[in-house]
Each structure stands twice: as structure tokens, then as C-alpha cells.
């Protein structure tokens, strides 16, 4: 049972390191608080943006936390691919530069799987292959206004 865990942990950690480097331009890895007996301990994330010291997880900024959390989710998704993923406004803390990086990463992950992403941010919308428009008239009833197709770039 511990072997199963270690196997999964190492694979997800491997993915996490690559994805974190790409998203945040820094170094990150997953750490077990009790490496010899993993199931009695916890899992923590070590994140170190370029030039900074290793950040304590809770002291990170809103944008830094978002990118770190998303790197973890993407790593998880690469280990255990699913038919679809749905993200609802995961880019709200990100500045323009990081919103672009995230959009590029979603586009890359979407080569193998289906991503449905709710977003108000231009970088995310422009990186997607199509956008479903949702509005409401004065009557409070949702109307799906159709799909805006993009040119493949």
C-alpha cells in the first residue's frame, strides 16, 4: 500500500516540477513531511520563485498561490487523465503576464483532454479554440448566445 502511494507520489512530483517551472519561472517540488512513513505524515509544497528564497506557503501572494495550486492540479491531471476538466475563474488573482502563461498551459494540456474554462480574462479567452457566450436579458433568464469560433493560431 505504501509502495502504491510512493509510486503515485513520485510520478506526480515529477510532473509538478516541470509544470511549476514553466508556469512560475522558478523551482518547486512536492515534499512528504514523513518520507519514511508517508501515510503517517502530510504533503507539503516547496515553492521558490526565481531569485527569491523558498517561500512559506501561507505567506505567498494571491497570484503566487494560484499558480502553485494550478501547477499541482495540472500535475495531478497528467498522472490521472480524465475526459474533461472544468475551471471556473481560476485566473482572478493573476496579473497580465501570469494570465497569459496559464492560458498557454491550458491550451497545451487541452491537446489531450477537454477543457471547459469560465473566464472574464482576455488572455484566457483569446487562447481558447472557441468561446460560449452567456447572457441574461432583463428577465433574469440565462441565454446561451452561441459559440464564437477562433482561427487556429
Amino acid at each position: 500500500k505504501r509502495d502504491h502511494f510512493n509510486k503515485a507520489f513520485e510520478a506526480i512530483d515529477e510532473h509538478f516540477r516541470g509544470i511549476f517551472a514553466e508556469l512560475s519561472d522558478g523551482e518547486g517540488q512536492l515534499l512528504l513531511t514523513n518520507p519514511l512513513d508517508p501515510l503517517s505524515g502530510g504533503l507539503t509544497i516547496q515553492a521558490k520563485p526565481r531569485g527569491k528564497k523558498t517561500l512559506r506557503l501561507e505567506s505567498m501572494s494571491g497570484g503566487e498561490k494560484s499558480l502553485t495550486a494550478l501547477a499541482f492540479v495540472f500535475a495531478f491531471q497528467r498522472y490521472l487523465p480524465a475526459p474533461f476538466y472544468a475551471f471556473d475563474e481560476v485566473d482572478m488573482f493573476l496579473d497580465g503576464v501570469n494570465a497569459e502563461k496559464l492560458a498557454a498551459m491550458v491550451r497545451k494540456q487541452a491537446d489531450n483532454t477537454q477543457f471547459i474554462v469560465v473566464s472574464l480574462r482576455k488572455p484566457m479567452i483569446e487562447s481558447s479554440e472557441r468561446t460560449i457566450g452567456v447572457t441574461q436579458k432583463q428577465d433574469g433568464i440565462t441565454k446561451v448566445t452561441g459559440v464564437l469560433l477562433k482561427h487556429a493560431s
Binding site: 502504491h4 502511494f5 503515485a8 507520489f9 506526480i12 512528504l32 513531511t33 501515510l39 505524515g41 502530510g42 504533503l43 509544497i45 501561507e58 505567498m60 498561490k65 494560484s66 502553485t68 495550486a69 494550478l70 499541482f72 492540479v73 495531478f76 490521472l80 487523465p81 480524465a82 475526459p83 474533461f84 476538466y85 472544468a86 471556473d88 475563474e89 481560476v90 482572478m92 488573482f93 491550451r107 487541452a110 491537446d111 483532454t113 477537454q114 477543457f115 471547459i116 474554462v117 469560465v118 473566464s119 472574464l120 484566457m124 479567452i125 487562447s127 481558447s128 479554440e129 468561446t131 460560449i132 457566450g133 452567456v134 447572457t135 441574461q136 433574469g140 433568464i141 440565462t142 446561451v144
Partner: protein
């Protein structure tokens, strides 16, 4: 296997029936505040049994029924399949003779999916529906359908888990939740890996 189409009928801010087709790859959903974007995500979570009423911002399940129409029931259908691959699911569907009214409606949903104008939906190989009905004084009923037949939540969960769709698989990140992984305790975070190891 991907989501081919979602049908939202009288659920939350969707009064009446709305069909939303989906494609492969990367789709965004956008629009003004309060228009219904998160409600579409809630519809998926509701149909696939992946959440509680609180997670969908409702106090009780009957709050999910559209409050503008007089109809006191809501139905959501999610059709899965492979793009570019014809499936032959007709073998899965039971004959109409032994279906109750509600199952007939779910059955019709499957047939509509398969015969609808969207070419890709003819490839549906897994169709899940869920109905919530407000019975007034006598409470409410929540019914799942797997390929047109009544099913238990467990049956739906098992079928979805085979495709790595489950609460533990992080398929859905909800609005405001993105930093949840950072804020949880190390023990909780390790358990995420336990579930898939």
C-alpha cells in the same frame, strides 16, 4: 471520451430547455456577472452527483429548480462520447415497453442526443441524467438515469470513476476555490494522493 453535449432544463437560471454542444480541446465560457456561467458548471456537478446542494450555492436541492417557471422540476443531461468515433449505443438502451414516465423522458433525452442536429452527438456512448422534483408537502425526489434507465448514485459514481471522473480527481475547480490546495493542511493534501494511489 469527452463531453459531447449538456442539456439544462429548468435548472437554476435556465428557464425551459437549453442545449449546449461541446467540442474537443479548449473551450471558454464568458459573459456578464450573474448571467449563468457558474450555473452551467453547477449543472454538470448536479448531473454527475459530484457535489452537495451547498457546493452549488443552494440551501436545499429544490432551490436548484428555476424559480421563474411554475414547473417544479429540473433535469440535466450530460452526454459523453469520443469525437470522430461512431458509437453504437442502441444496444444499451432498453425497449420502451418497460419504462415509467420519467424514464421515458430520460430515454427521450438519450434519443434526442443521438438524433439531434449536432452530428457529434450520434456518437454518445454514455448518457447520464438527473432529475429533481419538488413534491410540495411530500418532500422531493432526486433520480439518476444511466443511459436512459433509472440508476442509483453508486452506479453512476462507479461508472464515472472508471473514467477518472470523481470528487477526488479534481475534474472541477469552482469559483473562489483555486487556492484551496494551498490553504489545506498537509495531511488533507496527502490524502488527495491516497485516493488515486
Amino acid at each position: 471520451m469527452h463531453i459531447l453535449q449538456i442539456e439544462i432544463d429548468n435548472f437554476k437560471s435556465f428557464s425551459g430547455k437549453t442545449v449546449i454542444p461541446f467540442e474537443e480541446g479548449f473551450t471558454t465560457i464568458s459573459g456578464p456577472n450573474g448571467s449563468g456561467k457558474s450555473n452551467i458548471i453547477d449543472a454538470i456537478l448536479f448531473c454527475l452527483g459530484l457535489s452537495t446542494s451547498r457546493t452549488m450555492r443552494a440551501e436545499k436541492l429544490t432551490d436548484l429548480i428555476n424559480n421563474r417557471s411554475r414547473r417544479r422540476e429540473a433535469l440535466v443531461t450530460v452526454a459523453f462520447g469520443d469525437f470522430g468515433v461512431e458509437a453504437a449505443p442502441k444496444g444499451d438502451l432498453p425497449d420502451d415497453a418497460d419504462l415509467g414516465d420519467d424514464e421515458q423522458a430520460a430515454q427521450d433525452a438519450v434519443k434526442m442526443v443521438q438524433s439531434g442536429p449536432q452530428p457529434n452527438t450520434r456518437k454518445a456512448k454514455l448518457v447520464i441524467s438527473r432529475r429533481i422534483k419538488d413534491n410540495g408537502q411530500s418532500g422531493y425526489t432526486s433520480t439518476y438515469y444511466l443511459n436512459g434507465r433509472t440508476a442509483t448514485l453508486t452506479q453512476v459514481h462507479d461508472r464515472l470513476a472508471q473514467s477518472n471522473i470523481s470528487p477526488g480527481c479534481y475534474n472541477v475547480l469552482m469559483q473562489g476555490d483555486v487556492t484551496g490546495i494551498i490553504n489545506m493542511s498537509p495531511m488533507e493534501r496527502r490524502k488527495i494522493i491516497d485516493e488515486v494511489a
